[in-house]
Symmetry: D2
Subunit: 334 residues, 4 copies
C-alpha cells in the first residue's frame, strides 16, 4: 500500500517512520507547505517531497493518505483525498467547527472511501484489553468510568493559541475513550469546570490547564474525566471501568521495572513514560497496521469519522457548559 | 476517664468495646431506649444499662459521653450532655437539618465543653499520612483531590429510609475528607449528579445509590468524589491528592498480602477488607485515643463541631445541585 | 480457660495481654524468677504473681500454661506442666539440644496433655492463605519454595550469646515454614552457608548474621532460605511457592497504604512493619485463639511437639553443614 | 558499519532484523550451512546469502560479524573473524569446553579485534538501572543477590541434547548477571543442586530442568540463583540486590498494564511477557547499538570475552558441584 503523508511535524515524522517500517506499506510522498522541511523528512526514507497535495493526490499509484498537518487543514485535505479516491487516516480532531465537520461528512459520503480518525489510544494494548474485558462482560453493567489524563508539561503558548483550547485539543481523546469504552449512544449530559492553575499565561489566553468533566449517559452511568496539562511524574493516563460485577483498569507505565527499598520508602518505581509519544509509541504502529488491514479487507474502519464527530460534540458541549456554568445535554445519535 | 455510651447498635458496640479496651478509659453506662439491648451490651463489660440519658448525665463521676444513637437524637443528646458538662464524642452527621445544627452550636457555645465529631477516617494511619504529606508540602500547590468511596453493599432499605439520603449519609465522610485534606475555606462551588443504578427500590425511595460530586475551591483547585453503595471487591476507599510537585495517594487494603500467579493472571491480590468496620477497625480505636488525650490535655478537639457543620453545608449544597441540575455556591467560612 | 503464663519478658507480655483480651480466657498467674517483674505484669491484669511454677501447677483451676520463659527452661516446664495435666503452649524452640527434646517427648507421651509449639507465623492470615492455596492444588506439584526472612536489626549481643546461634534462633521459624508449606516427610538434604557481614562482634562470638540454606526434599522439590539479622526497610518476610501450575506468594506488609509520586519516583510505599512483633501482632492473638479452640475441642494441636522437633533437626543439620562445608542428609520421619 | 550475520535460526533472525533497522548499520551477508535458509532471510532485506564464512570474511567492506550460529561453531568463527580483522559480536556461550575458550582467547589476543559476548540482559533498561543503582551506592555493601530465572517451557529435546545442559545453556546468563552486578573478583564458592521435575525425558538425557545455585564471593556476600525450564505465567526473571543500605530489584514485565477486580480477586495483572524473545526484544536492539557505538569509539567492549569465560568457569564449577555433591571453589581472577 503506497502512502502520502501530509505534515512533517512531530506527528508527521512519527507516521512517516511507521509507514517506512511496515512490511506492507511504502512511503511515496511527504507533503508540507514548508518544502525544505518536507524534503528533509522525505530524503531520509527515499520518498518524494511536495509543498502541496496536488501531485500525490493525482498519483494513481498512491493508495492512502495520512493527514497529520495542522488541524485547520484537515477538512480540506479529507475532502480532496476522498475525491481522489484515497483511503484516509486523519489525525484528531477532524476540525474545531462542527458545521465544517458535518459538511465534510456529507461531501465524502458520496465518495465512499475508507476513513479512520487517529485516536491512537484505542490501539494501546492495555486500553484495548480493558475494552475487551468490558465487552466480555467482566464488569457487568457499567456504572462509572473514571479517566485521568495528564501530560507532563504544557505545550508552547504558540501551540496553545491555535489548539482550540484544552477541551478540544487534549480532552478530545478522553471523550473518544469514554464513548468507545461505554458504547454509549443517545443523550449525554455534560458538565465541565476548568481552571488555569499551572501557567497564568494560559489563563490570559482564555484557556485552561486543568479541566474536570462529568458525563451522564442515558443508561444513568457516569464518566468523570480529570485532565491536566502538567504532571511532574510523567504521562499519567489511567482508565477505570467500574460496574456491577467489578472493575477493570488501565494502569500507567513506568520507565522501567526497577523497585527501590530504603530506610524511608519501599517498592518505589521509576517515573512514568514521559509523554504520549513515549507511552503510545507502540500504539501508533498498531494503529497504522489496523488501518492497512482494514483497508485491505474492505471492512468498516474504526475509529470512524462519526467517532471523531461525536467526540467533537462532547467537546463543544463541555465548552458550552463552562461558559454557561450549567450542565448541557447533547444527543450523539445511534 | 469514665464514659457513658449512647446507642447499642453496630456503632455503639464498637465504641463500647474500644472504651473497655482503652487503658485510660472505663465504661460506666450503656444507654439505649430498648433497655434489654442496652443491658445485654452493658453486662458484657460490667457496666450499668439505662433506657434514658438522665442517670448517666446526672452521675458526676461520668467525664465523657459517646453519642452513637440514631442521627435524629444527636442534637438533643449533645445539648443535654453539654449542659451536664460532659466531654462529647458524637457520631456523624450532627443532624440532617442545618438550622438545628446552628441552634445547637449556639446553645453549647455557652457550656464550653470539649466536643469531637466522629469522622473516624481522619485517624486511619494511611489517610493521616496523606494529610501530613500534603501539609509537609510534598504535593506542592493542590490542584485536584480525587476521592473514591464505595461500600460493599447497600444498607437495608429500612436504614436508607431514615438515613437522610446517600449524600448526607455516605458522602458526608467524603466532604469532611475533602475539606480536611485541602484545608479549604471560603467559597466552594458544588455540582452533583446522582443515579439509582444498583437497586431500584432505593430509587423508588427517591434516593440514589451512585453519586458524583465536583467541587471547586476558592483556590481554583478541584475535588471530585465518586460514591457508590455497592462494590463487589470490598470497601473501595481511595484518596489521591495531585499538585504542582507530585501526588500522594491513600490506597486500599486487601484482606491479606497473598499474590497469585497462574497461566491467566499474575500478582492477583485478595478482595479488599469488606466494609468500613473492617477497614476502620483500628481508626475507631485511634479516634477514641485522640479524644481521651485531647480532653485530658485541654486542647481543641478535631474534627470539631464546625467541621461537622461544614460537611453538612456541602451535603446540603450537593442535594440542592441535584434538585436544580445546576452548580451551587456555598461559603463555608474561615 | 484459666491460664498461667511463664515468662515476663517481651514474649510473656504479649501472651499475657492476649490472654487478658480473649473472651474465653482468664489470666490467673504470671510467673517469673524475678518476682518484681512478675508482679508488675500480673498487677496490670489483676492476676497472681509467682517466682516459681509450683503454685500455678498445683492450682487445679488452672487449665493451661503458656511457656514464654528463656529457652533453657522450656523442657523442664513442659515436663512439669504435663505431669500436672495442663494444656501447654510453648514458645519455640523447644530446646537447643535434640537429646533433651527426645527425652522430653518420651516423658510427656505418658501424660497425654495437649501441646502446641509457638510457630506463630502459621496463624498469620497471609501465610495461612498461602498454605490453603497450596493444599487446594493452586500451584500444582511444588517445585521451589523460596523464603526471605530478615529482621530489622540484630538483637543485643547478650541475647545472641545465649540464643543458640542464628540458625537455631532465627531460622528455626523458616524451617517450620518450609516443612509446614511443603508437607514434606522422609529424607531431606540440607546445605548451608553463613557469614558475619553486618556486625563483626557477632562474628567474634562464632555466630553469623546472614545465612543461606538450600533444602531438597524427597520429592526433588527445593526450598531456599535467605535469612538476615538486619534490613533497613523493616521486617522483610516473604514466602513464594512455585509449582507446575503457578505460584502463590506471601508478601510484605507496609506501615500504611500511602503511595508517593514525585519527579524522581512513583508508587513509593512506606517502610515495612518494623519487626516480628508488629508484623505478627495479630498472628499471636490468632495463635492463642486456635490453642483455646483446639484444647476445648480435644483435637490434635498444630504446630505439634513433633513439628518443633523436626524444625530443630533441620537446624542441627544446617549447623553441621556449615561446619563440614558439605551437604547433610536427615530423615524427619513421617 | 557493514555486517555479516552467521546463523539464520531464531537468534540469527533477530540480529538480522536489528541490523536492518539500525540507522548506522547495513546488512551485507547472511550465512548459514543450509543455503536455502540463509537465502530466505537474506532476500527479505536485500542481502547476500552464503553457505560458508569465506566470502563475507574476505570482503574488506565488511566491518563486523555477528555470530549467532550453533555453539559448537563459535570458537572457529571467532578465530576466523579475528584473523580477518572483523569486529565480533558473539552469542553466549563462547563454547562448552573451557580449554577451547582459553585457546581461542590466546589466538585472538594477537589480532586485537573488538569483541563482545551477547549477554543481552545487561542492556535491558531495568537490569541496567539496577546495576547503576548498585554502582551509585544505593544498596551500600552488597550482602545477598537473589536471581530467579524461569523460562515458560522447556526447549525441544533435540535442542536440549546439544545444549550443554541446563547449567551451561540457561544459567550461564545468571552467572554473568551475578558477576556483573556484584563486580566480584577472586575466589568464589559454588554449590549447586539440580532435579528433573518437569519432564522425565530431560532427566533421562542426564539433564535437569530445575537448578539451584548458591555462590559465596570473597567479600562474604552471597548470590542465590533459582532456575527453571517451565513457568506457566510467562518469563519470570527477577534480580534482587540486598545490602547494608537497602534493596533494589528488577521486576517482571506483564503483557499489559490492565488490572482486574472481581468478587474473588483484586489488582490481578496479565501474565508476563512470554519468553526471553518478548522480554528482551528491546535489549537486543540496545545491545547492537552499544556494539556499534563501542566499535566506532574504540572503547573496550562489554560484556567482554573474559566475561564470557568467567561465566563458563562458574557453570563448570556448578556442574562439578552437582557431580561431587559438594561445594567447589574457583578463582575467576581480577
Amino acid at each position: 500500500m503506497k502512502f502520502a503523508v501530509f505534515g512533517a511535524g512531530r506527528m508527521g515524522e512519527r507516521h512517516v517512520a511507521n509507514v517506512a517500517a511496515h512490511e506492507n506499506a511504502a512511503l511515496a510522498y511527504v507533503v508540507n507547505p514548508n518544502f525544505e522541511r518536507a524534503k528533509r523528512l522525505a530524503d531520509r526514507y527515499g520518498a518524494t517531497a511536495c509543498a502541496g497535495p496536488e501531485q500525490p493526490l493525482a498519483d494513481r499509484t498512491v493508495d492512502a493518505v495520512i493527514i497529520a498537518s495542522t488541524t485547520s487543514t484537515h477538512v480540506d485535505l479529507i475532502t480532496a483525498a476522498a475525491r481522489a479516491g484515497k483511503a484516509i487516516l486523519c489525525e484528531k480532531p477532524i476540525d474545531l467547527d462542527m458545521a465544517r465537520v458535518k459538511a465534510c461528512a456529507e461531501t465524502i459520503a458520496n465518495h465512499n472511501v475508507p476513513i479512520m480518525i487517529g485516536f491512537q489510544r484505542r490501539f494501546d494494548p492495555t486500553h484495548k484489553a480493558v475494552k475487551q474485558a468490558v465487552e466480555g462482560g467482566e464488569v457487568g453493567q457499567i456504572e462509572v468510568i473514571s479517566i485521568v489524563s495528564r501530560d507532563p508539561e504544557p505545550p508552547p503558548l504558540a501551540y496553545i493559541r491555535n489548539s482550540g483550547g484544552q477541551i478540544h485539543d487534549q480532552m478530545i481523546h478522553d471523550f473518544d475513550m469514554a464513548l468507545w469504552i461505554s458504547g454509549a449512544t443517545g443523550r449525554v449530559e455534560v458538565f465541565a469546570m476548568a481552571s488555569s492553575l499551572i501557567d497564568s499565561n494560559i489563563g490570559r489566553l482564555g484557556d485552561s490547564d486543568i479541566a474536570q468533566v462529568l458525563l451522564r449517559f442515558e443508561s444513568g452511568a457516569f464518566c468523570r474525566i480529570d485532565c491536566s496539562r502538567r504532571c511532574v511524574y510523567g504521562h499519567d493516563q489511567r482508565v477505570e471501568v467500574f460496574g456491577s460485577k467489578g472493575m477493570v483498569s488501565s494502569g500507567n507505565v513506568s520507565q522501567s521495572a526497577i523497585e527501590r527499598f530504603t530506610s524511608s520508602l519501599t517498592s518505589a518505581r521509576d517515573p512514568l513514560l514521559y509523554d504520549f509519544m513515549q507511552r503510545y509509541s507502540h500504539a501508533y504502529a498498531l494503529e497504522l497496521d489496523a488501518f492497512i488491514k482494514g483497508v485491505s479487507s474492505g471492512l468498516k474502519l474504526n475509529p470512524s469519522f462519526e467517532a471523531g464527530s461525536r467526540a467533537l460534540q462532547l467537546a463543544d458541549a463541555a465548552r458550552t457548559s463552562i461558559q454557561r456554568q450549567a450542565p448541557v445535554r447533547v444527543d450523539i445519535g445511534e
